[in-house]
Subunit: 153 residues, 2 copies
């Protein structure tokens, strides 16, 4: 049903190579290192397929273009064999994200503050929550320290 094209592989390896949360243009850039003629449309189309397969998940942060991350599925490589017996798509990848104000990179957080049902007025039913943290990632914080007395000699 689904063909193993160089493009599909290139899109998938953008994720496995970087292990990061990527925007469509970032995926395109990575994929072009493997298949230079790949187009943005194909990236979006493959991303849709991977989303439908549950291989990746869409990450939407406030005021940001959509990003995509690999879901924490245990098995199978990017080889076209898998056929998602259980289409339990959105599985259990409930994360939150950290957005670095300096490098713009998005990092996955593995902790969760809980459902926060106590924040809402009476009568409201909380079904899900999203948390986005902003600040400096370890690398950028190290590169531009606020006033660390030690290194700024």
């Amino acid at each position: 049903m689904q063909r193993l094209t160089r493009q599909r592989n290139a899109v998938f390896s953008a994720f496995s190579d970087t292990g990061r949360v990527l925007t469509a243009p970032e995926i395109l850039a990575h994929a072009r290192e493997i298949v230079p003629e790949i187009s943005l449309s194909t990236v979006y189309r493959q991303v849709s397929l991977l989303l439908a397969d549950g291989e990746i998940a869409k990450v939407e942060l406030p005021g940001e273009p959509a990003r995509y991350e690999v879901t924490c599925k245990p098995a199978t490589q990017a080889d076209g064999h898998r056929q998602s017996k259980h289409d339990g798509h959105e599985a259990d990848h409930h994360h939150h994200y950290f957005h670095c104000a300096s490098c713009g990179q998005v990092f996955l957080l593995h902790a969760c503050p809980g459902p926060m049902t106590d924040l809402v007025p009476k009568g409201f039913q909380v079904k899900s929550h999203e948390v986005t943290l902003h600040g400096l990632c370890a690398t950028c914080a190290d590169a531009a320290p606020k006033r660390s007395s030690s290194k700024a000699h």
Copy 2:
């Protein structure tokens, strides 16, 4: 410097009339009840001015078009007199939001779970956070109860 046009007033009163968090098209709809010939461009332009004045704030939720809310400024009506002596624009309106899955309306939450600095890896500096809750608002939860044994007779 800034003129008091019917359109500016119409845009502002969309907020004061509804007291809600509104998208640009929603503002347009409300404003058209006062000034029928007002255009979307003017709405966006007035919204930009109001943002710059600190009268309103942009509300961006994941995967949603931008919304705008009145900031909790204590004084002055929409009359053009104010001239923001302190351009402390982003003031202290730190809120979080609840997005109703049923009616799509966005509600302001006044509680805050705190900075959540413990969610990030070592070396990361958290500067701000955003929380979005999803579920059913009181009205929608009441209209479509899950399985409340009392009313579903």
